[in-house]
Amino acid sequence: MKAFSFIQASSLGHAAAESAAMGTSFIAGGTNIVDLMKLNVESPSRLVDVTKLGMNQIESDSHGNLRIGAMVRNSELAEHRLVKERFAVLSEAILSGASPQLRNMATTGGNLLQKTRCPYYRDVAFACNKRSPGSGCPAIEGHNRNQAILGGSEHCIAVNPSDMNVALMALGAMIHLHDGKNERAVPIQDFYLLPGGTPHQEFAMMRGEIITAVTVNAQPKGAKSLYVKLRDRASYEFALASCAAIMKISSGVVESVQIAFGGVGTVPWRANRAEQSLKGKAPTTQNFADAADAELIGAAVQSENAFKVELIKRCTVYTLSQLANGGAL
């Protein structure tokens, strides 16, 4: 770790102004950036602490929409009554990740920016286009069992490791950004950038902007939601494949459905094609499988991760079947 200076931000304006200087990073819960600083993957010369700026409330309006402050800790968000009652998929996703200690520290805003676990990204001895643009991608020819099958490019196949953001993706959340003067909102599907030729550019936010809140709209009345996560061990592991789904069935057909995948994409993956395939169809196992297939047409596998295609398909069919059978809220 390199020496750095530490600045306590007193206002959004202060935070934005401080972040203008080169080599500055924000720090909130610190569960990710401190880790990366120890590995010399991140080496900011200045850290601006944004945890004393409020933004730590969960508020609901009369329509049942939710505004989650960026500094709300993951553990608090997962256990919040309104979240458990109306957005169960979000609570389930958060609780399936990390450990209680990490969730007590990690913030909503920080979690949105969680970095990949790609081992080549996390070790400065290796080339990595995400960490050091243009240096190359050893993962493509190397250990790639847990790398992405969706959204990769010839420059980067690093998988997004998040659970929370998969649920937020399915919920169609809005990300609220503030530059010290004005706030703007970005749909979560536009917030995450595919690697393409610029894998180092990961988020649709500008220098000086800070995440202030995440909003999610009330889900259709009668819809049910579920998060299913598959991994090699029962706890404390990033997903091999995960599925967040919110589905409403009426008159024997799928009236509305929102699906997102985790553990398989370079970004939390909204399964738009699967949703299109399923809308208006009967909630049958075959239709669920066809929906997954429709999404996975674009899957690109590597030497060690072809199994993820079958695994995410099974995960999707299982999740939707559970919802159709009334097995979940």
Partner: protein
């Protein structure tokens, strides 16, 4: 003095060092923060096969707090560590790189952070060749390890045959306590606080490598956060810390990182095995052929002895065991819990299950059919073997009769339950050592020996051994171990330390008692003055006339006070015993039954329960003993389903060198574990009949789980770990 009637052996005595550990007062190697301490951080090579062309250390040397940077141009005068060094290469001896992570420099600074920052600024240029990190075939032939009859011919003519290839990956020991060394060099010599399974072995290794005499090398390891074989002897980081401390005349601390633990301090090497079983239709095995190749480093001759248990476990009249080795660009492998037997029984016990399936026979019946009357590898009788009783007892406890021979019907949740069984075996050895026992005038006793407790309960069982003979509470015995200044004691490895300590502690206690009774008989201030020592006894802590009750006598503390003596001592020892030196075949046996839950829709497998029945002689402490087996079973769950160190093919780096990517079981992965000891004493090994239990709990677990997976899924996975892609394919 509180005396206790009854003996201590076989009692569930809580750990005598438990309060120190749970209150954080137990001092581990890295806890020795000495005055003036400097911090050392090694720099590892980022190529696996090549040479250092140039190294620029000037930037690092000029950074804040940096005291010195060591590298192959300024370190010299080191010698071979010999048998007491895990790695044969002398650290920082030249520019040659044989594996990824090999130390190429050491930064010493005033703080850990300064040393780490400087270490990352050392610039190295290499000339590198592509590394060899994957093994092919069965390796360079090392010949036959065991043979009898005509194994090839009888296999060919057997009506029922199994011929299968199995593999196990590289596994890393990953004890909770990372390797750490604190060296305090003074004019008169070295004091080395080291995380080691052998204070004697580490002392000898450091003496060899630094060219120092024994009296100048003291190694201390009072508490160790386990080792699993990875801390049996010397690793280069300890040598380098000693070099720096001697050079700078200040204490130096070096603690490796979790990443380095996958690179530079050993591992269980990957194995590639072929097993052939030829049998009659009734299940009688005619031929057993076990061929294996073991991965190794460029400079090491270490190989995983996969045939450790094979020749004596079953009664095949015709047998051949052969071994081979691969030299790869990886760090030196070394023993890891149950070396050889653990990967070896994985292959052979899976093959037994495959044979049972071919025969349409219950796997337990197959084993009964092939129970030998004596050890066919050497013709010797067994010292104490109750393998079949383990299987019968386990079957009863586990509910084996509920097993279906083919995958059963899903339960209400759609899950299929599979059952598997496997046997296990581990040789029974006895470590050597000396013990000094003292009876003290406060009514307590002390036992001193340069052995150590790696977390297994050595402090407690030594206290029990002494307390048993002296008739006092084990908590009144002060066990002094973990210091090379005590009488030389056994290594904590190979399940031999406890078996070796029994004769040493008991004879030391006996000699102390004899000396005390002699003094009681002859000293004029003794109440027993003039009574022949042969007519005196020590019972339940009281010295008394043998013809009278213990209570009629005097507690030894009071007697010593009357004699104006602070203490009375006795010495004891035990001799090393290996399987080759005994007229009987000494092994421990056991079996594991595993239940797995298979969720076919998600291709997910989890282990729900394990029952282990172990025949390891007399169990001195069922509490710590059970704990050993439970831990081993959970380790076996990891071996079966998740553990593997993965080498990046291009760089040769162990690429998953952290606890998020090198998977071990979490609490949620730990099955219900039912441990049962048969508890038959084996008096061939020592007076208490106690064999070791450190290794045997792991042998066979992965096979039992793999057999249960085959029973649940109908799919036989022969390459560990059994991960989801293998079950989907």
């Amino acid at each position: 003095m509180s005396s206790k009637v009854g003996n201590s052996i076989g009692k569930e005595v809580t750990r005598v060092d438990g309060p120190l550990k749970v209150t954080g007062r137990a001092k581990y190697a890295a806890d020795h923060n000495l005055k003036g301490l400097l911090y050392a951080v090694p720099v590892g090579s980022t190529v696996a096969n090549g040479k250092i062309v140039s190294m620029n250390v000037q930037g690092a040397e000029s950074m804040p707090g940096v005291v010195k940077v060591y590298h192959h141009h300024n370190v010299s005068g080191l010698y071979s560590g010999g048998d007491h060094a895990h790695e044969q290469r002398i650290p920082l001896s030249d520019e040659t790189i044989e594996y990824y992570g090999q130390y190429i420099a050491l930064v010493v600074a005033k703080t850990l952070e300064q040393a780490q920052a400087a270490a990352s600024e050392i610039k190295v240029e290499y000339s590198a060749q592509p590394p060899t990190v994957t093994a092919q075939g069965l390796g360079n032939d090392l010949g036959q390890a065991s043979a009898r009859g005509d194994a090839g011919g009888t296999f060919a003519s057997s009506p029922v045959q199994v011929d299968a290839n199995y593999s196990t990956p590289t596994e890393v020991h990953n004890p909770m306590e990372l390797h750490a060394t604190v060296v305090d060099y003074k004019e008169e010599g070295f004091t080395v606080y080291e995380s080691t399974q052998s204070v004697m072995g580490s002392q000898r290794g450091l003496m060899n490598q630094l060219g120092e005499p024994q009296e100048r090398m003291r190694v201390v390891a009072q508490f160790i956060g386990s080792g699993f074989g990875g801390k049996l002897a010397l690793w280069p980081h300890a040598t380098l810390a000693a070099v720096a401390s001697k050079d700078l005349k200040l204490p130096v601390k070096l603690m490796i990182t979790r990443k380095m633990a996958a690179e530079t301090v050993g591992h269980r090497p990957g194995t590639h095995q072929r097993v052939r079983l030829g049998a009659e239709q009734d299940g009688k095995i005619n031929s057993l052929i076990h061929e294996y190749g073991s991965e190794s480093s460029m400079g090491s001759g270490y190989r995983e002895n996969c045939g450790e248990a094979t020749p004596s476990l079953y009664g095949a009249q015709n047998l051949r065991v052969t071994s081979g080795i691969y030299h790869l660009n990886v760090g030196s492998p070394t023993a890891m819990r149950g070396p050889g037997a653990v990967p070896g029984t994985y292959a052979t016990e899976c093959a037994m299950d495959e044979l049972a399936q071919k025969l349409g026979m219950d796997p337990i019946e197959l084993r009964k059919m092939n129970e030998p009357k004596l050890d066919l590898s050497n013709g010797r009788p067994f010292s104490s073997r109750h393998y079949l009783e383990c299987l019968e007892e386990g079957a009863k406890r586990f509910g084996w009769h509920k097993r279906k021979s083919t995958p059963g019907q899903p339960d209400a949740n759609g899950n299929i339950h599979g059952y598997g069984v496997a046997g296990c075996s581990w040789f029974a050895g006895r470590g050597w050592g000396d013990v000094l026992l003292e009876l003290l005038d406060d009514g307590t006793a002390s036992v001193a020996c340069a052995t150590q407790d790696i977390g297994t309960g050595t402090y407690t069982v030594v206290a029990q051994m002494a307390a048993d003979r002296l008739g006092i509470d084990p908590h009144l015995v002060n066990v002094k171990i973990g210091d090379s200044r005590f009488p030389p004691g056994p290594t904590s490895g190979g399940s031999t330390a406890t078996a070796g300590l029994v004769p040493a502690v008991l004879s030391a206690a006996e000699n102390a008692v004899v000396n005390l009774l002699q003094a009681a008989s002859t000293d004029s201030s003794s109440p027993f003055s003039g009574i022949s020592p042969h007519d005196l006894a020590l019972t339940n802590g009281f010295v008394h006339q043998a013809s009278q009750s213990a209570n009629s006598g005097v507690p030894w503390g009071d007697l010593l006070k009357k004699l104006k003596r602070k203490s009375m001592s006795g010495k004891g020892n035990s001799q090393y015993a290996s399987p080759d030196q005994t007229p009987v075949s000494m092994h421990s046996y056991g079996c594991h039954f595993a239940e797995v839950v298979w969720q076919p829709q998600l291709a997910q497998i989890r282990v729900s329960r394990v029952c282990s029945v172990i025949d390891a002689g007399k169990i001195i402490n069922p509490l710590t003993g059970k704990n050993q087996i439970e831990g081993a079973v959970i380790m076996g769950v990891g071996m079966a389903l998740m553990e593997q160190s993965i080498y990046d093919r291009q760089s040769g780096a162990p690429i998953n060198s952290n606890f998020a990517e090198y998977l071990v079981p979490t609490h949620m992965d730990a099955p219900d574990v039912d441990v049962h000891f048969l508890d038959y004493p084996d008096f061939h090994i020592n007076q208490l009949g106690a064999r070791g239990i450190g290794e045997i709990g792991l042998a066979g677990v992965a096979a039992a789980i793999a057999n249960a997976v085959a029973n649940a899924t109908g799919k036989r996975v022969r390459d560990l770990p059994i991960t989801v892609e293998k079950l989907l394919s």
